[in-house]
Amino acid sequence: MNFNKEQVEQKAKEIRINSLKMINAANSGHPGGSLSIADILSVLYFGEQMNYDAKNPESESRDVLVVSKGHASPAVYSALGLAGFFPIEDTMSFRQLGSQFQGHIDRCRVPGVEMSTGSLGHGLSNALGISLAIKLNEKNLLENSSDARLANLEKPELTGSSMRISRDERNAAEEDLQVGSRTVFAILSDGELQEGSNWEAIMACAHYKASNVICFLDRNRIQLDGWTETTMALHPIAEKFHAFNWEVIEINGHDVDAINDAINKAKALRSGDKPICILAQTIKGKGVSFMEDNVAWHGVAPNNADLEKALVELK
């Protein structure tokens, strides 16, 4: 994996800058939660962690990212624009009548958006469905393959050393067929864990051993009405995921090295049977001092003076 830290940090900065410009131009949108996931998006799109083809967004071998917190649309559109799915300048029509860039991400209008979200509590369920479809396709691929190394795929009675050898051979064959290579990423906000449907999805991901699901939890600790812990307490989150039979990797969600390492670790865990949560400790409004940890910037647009101040800080 070729990880260029400088480039990833630079792109994260560009995501932040473009997001704020979009929200300022629209005079409407969600800066806080866009800034808190900029580093995660940058590692995914520019840290060579996600397999995508901007010229062929529906490519059969791509990894899939479902952003459940659809209000972070400025950050998502900015990342996709920078990644070449469309000209980044187009995003300045954000939230205007007739624009392809809807207030909440819309898959039918923007190439690269995998699922339209916005109503919280949907994305992880969608990600599980995508994961199940990928696994079904991989199973079909294996069953229809004429590769001799897969001949004993249906012989679990093999034991001992012969099993070990056949397993190695099988793994090699699976790798050749690119089975197990596709990852389904999801990004959830912390506040949306208050939606009961997420716990249905968390339970179901574990039940279906969706180990190709890597779910980022953007733990920025703030929701529209205030701190999550005073609005509806979520702590302890890691323990909750553990109790639901997930692997949890806890990191600083603004340290691009840590994000990259966590994804590598999560991918290495894929051979297990647990879905993986990367619990990313983040700061709402990260990168702009007056927006950081400030609930006032959940869904308020920066005016021209605010934007100017913010851009000075970000550049």
Binding site: R107, M115, G118, S125, N126, L128, I130, M203, A204
Partner: protein, 324 residues
């Protein structure tokens, strides 16, 4: 999409078969020809009849437990990757509990998930009002792009399932728990957006869907014995609705009664009323028959229909009022 389905099941007129049974059979047949078909259920596969598919194709069946919102979200994800999902539960939970997931995860994402909901309406019977959804057609038909179908019997239900399998947009199929008489023979041909004229007549049109098609046929017998000429219309396709077919029969007879085991608000009756208001130049006498904006209760399904005014005797009585 999939290869043509071989109908393995023919239902004989007069046989007592629940539409959910035809659904279970249709899934089984579809599964054999279309490897992309997947089925989801929420711990009710024994009741919805998805159990047959589950047994035959376990790797393509997903029991999501008692969690309908997640089930709809997962079905959307499967559809997003090109699968042909059928998601089933009781109509109360599929259309009621999970409405917002059907709306946002499925319909707003333009994904072809087939929501096939059983145990709809009063004829659920003994389980009572908590399970007798009389609001589902209203809830589903207001969702943009959603196709809404209420099959009358097993013959039609079987065809409806095969038809919606080919759609590239979301659909809702309302199915029943109770065994009801098969009213259509093998020559019957279901078509989305078309009514079927069961019998031509000149005095009054009875436009029905679901189990009420059979009840309308029974009521027509009573009316005919009294010398009235009844036009019997099956309107399974509630959305899209057959504007031409409805206007034609209304202009012909000048009298229309709609029949559904659903609240008179928001269902077939309102859909037909809208068509008549916007398209008929002449005066039409019109009556919606259904559940009159009240909750059901426990009891035998057929007795419940009678209790809520949907028995053939009462239908004939209301028809005579329009005829007088």
């Amino acid at each position: 999409m999939g290869a043509p389905v071989t109908l393995t099941k023919e239902y004989k007129i007069g046989d007592m078969v629940a539409t959910r049974e035809a659904y279970g059979q249709a899934l089984l047949d579809l599964g054999a020809v279309n490897p992309e078909v997947v089925v989801l259920d929420a711990d009710l596969s024994g009741s919805t009849q998805t159990k047959h598919f589950a047994k035959a194709y376990p790797e393509r069946f997903f029991n999501m437990g008692i969690a309908e919102n997640n089930m709809m979200g997962v079905a959307a994800g499967l559809a997003r990757m090109g699968k042909v999902p059928f998601a089933s539960s009781f109509a109360m939970f599929a259309a009621g509990r999970a409405w917002e997931f059907v709306r946002n995860s499925i319909a707003h994402n333009h994904l072809a998930v087939r929501v096939c909901a059983t145990h709809a309406g009063l004829t659920v019977g003994e389980d009572g009002a908590s399970h007798q959804i009389i609001e589902d057609v209203a809830l589903m038909r207001v969702i943009p792009t959603m196709t809404v179908i209420v099959p009358a019997d097993a013959t039609e239900a079987y065809q409806v399932i095969n038809t919606v399998a080919e759609l590239d947009s979301p659909s809702y199929v309302r199915l029943g728990r109770a065994k009801v008489p098969v009213v259509f023979g093998p020559e019957y041909k279901f078509e989305i957006g078309k009514v079927s004229v069961i019998e031509e007549g000149t005095d009054i049109s009875l436009i029905a869907c679901g189990v009420m098609v059979w009840k309308a046929m029974e009521a027509a017998k009573i009316l005919k014995a009294k010398g009235h000429s009844v036009e019997l219309i099956n309107c399974a396709s509630i959305k899209p609705i057959d504007v031409k077919g409805i206007v034609k029969t209304a202009n012909k007879t000048g009298r229309v009664i709609t029949l559904e085991e659903h609240n008179i608000i928001g269902g077939l009756g309102d859909a037909v009323a809208s068509v008549l208001m916007e398209n008929c130049d002449q005066k039409i006498k019109f009556k919606r028959m259904g559940v009159e904006d009240k909750f059901g209760q426990s009891g035998d399904g057929m007795k419940l229909l009678e209790h809520y005014g949907l028995g053939e005797e009462n239908i004939a009585k209301e028809a005579e009022k329009l005829l007088s």
